[in-house]
Symmetry: C2
Subunit: 231 residues, 2 copies
């Protein structure tokens, strides 16, 4: 693949960054909203911390294991599809060659125009399988060991994110005072996180920071309102 600047720009958001974003987005938002929501119903910081830590434990494990299973199932899906393509290239090469022509037909190319590429691929079975995996099925080769790394990164990012809004409840016994500190600290953290995320995904840092802050704020406000209503 050519390394032109506009490709590189978008690929700086690697898979580890994506995992940190997944974990920290929810980690900063949900425990914050939960603690804020409970402060509408409970005045003891201790109970709110109990709920907050229980949520961090539940959320980080659920998200981490979810990430693990998603990566594992991607890898298994890739392996089984690859094996199928490898068999088909041997057992029904004409059908597969026809599929290559069909791919090019969707881009307006005639059979004559794609003929040399089809013939060239037929001479190189491994490259042909690679070609079908990417261009027919749209599947990327998974990185080995990715599932565990992904799970740990997501879970750790969730824990780090979740501890930020809870920190004020650790130091302030009065939940209502802790809430105001938590709101301030978390909104700043959300804005900073959103800005850094924007930097990696190529979006505007200011816009991404504001958007991320608004999400956390909305989720917390809704949770606060609902907890007030039912208590």
């Amino acid at each position: 693949m050519p390394q032109t600047p506009h490709i590189e720009k978008h690929f700086t958001a690697g898979e580890a960054v994506r995992d940190v974003v997944i974990g920290m987005s929810d980690g900063l938002t949900v425990p914050f909203a939960l603690a804020a929501g409970l402060t509408g119903a409970i005045s003891s910081s201790h109970l709110i911390l109990t709920a907050g830590f229980a949520e961090i434990a539940a959320g980080s494990i659920a998200m981490g294991l979810g990430g693990y299973l998603a990566a594992r199932s991607d890898a298994e899906h890739y392996a089984s599809e690859r094996q199928r393509e490898e068999e088909e290239i041997v057992t029904v090469p004409e059908v597969e060659a026809c599929e290559v022509r069909d791919i090019f037909k969707t881009y307006g190319l005639t059979d004559e125009e794609s003929a040399t590429v089809v013939e060239a691929l037929r001479k190189r079975p491994q490259d042909w399988v690679d070609f079908m995996m990417r261009f027919e099925l749209g599947l990327e080769k998974p990185v080995p060991g990715r599932a565990w790394k992904s799970a740990l990164t997501i879970a750790l990012a969730y824990v780090v994110g979740g501890l930020i809004p809870l920190s004020s409840y650790i130091f302030l016994a009065d939940a209502h005072r802790a809430l105001w500190v938590s709101i301030g600290v978390t909104l700043v953290a959300l804005a900073a996180f959103g800005a850094i995320k924007g930097r990696f995904t190529g979006a505007s840092m200011i816009r991404s920071g504001l958007q991320t802050m608004v999400i956390g704020g909305l989720a917390a406000a809704a949770a606060f309102g609902i907890a007030r209503m039912i208590s």
Copy 2:
């Protein structure tokens, strides 16, 4: 694209299904684990319901808005990359043609073998842009209106999933008794959800059901343990 059986099989997992899976996986797991965890520290069903509903509100909004922004940012990314490709095909056609040759080179094809395809694409600028979007950048055209639909589907699935483990706390005032009912109901729901998910993603239904049940159980057990420890 050719509609061979092995493609169709995997594409039954449409985007709406994926959104339901995203929302319900977390919806069934996190409120369940939180309620179970709090039952280790609090014996009033009412307080646990307060925390549970606050968590459902926070989690569904955070996940729904997260899904909305992800879909929006995919669409914006696609549009900006497409515009860039359209410009480059006009301003630096030689560079772009070279990029097409480079793509084929990664599959072992010589410049001579890919020449006819390169020439054919140069005659059809729109198809050429489509080709570059998919084969150089690996980007799929986003569906219009997808962002809102995605957000609502994820949020609703989260709410539905989250109400299942909380239902027993609504009917049983004693949190410890409610917990046992909640565990039973939720493990059954997790297994059923996992099995249906497996049906759509092409995995084994039994294995997927068991895996999903184990995740929920582990997350809940950890949350339970942590809430006990700090209370």
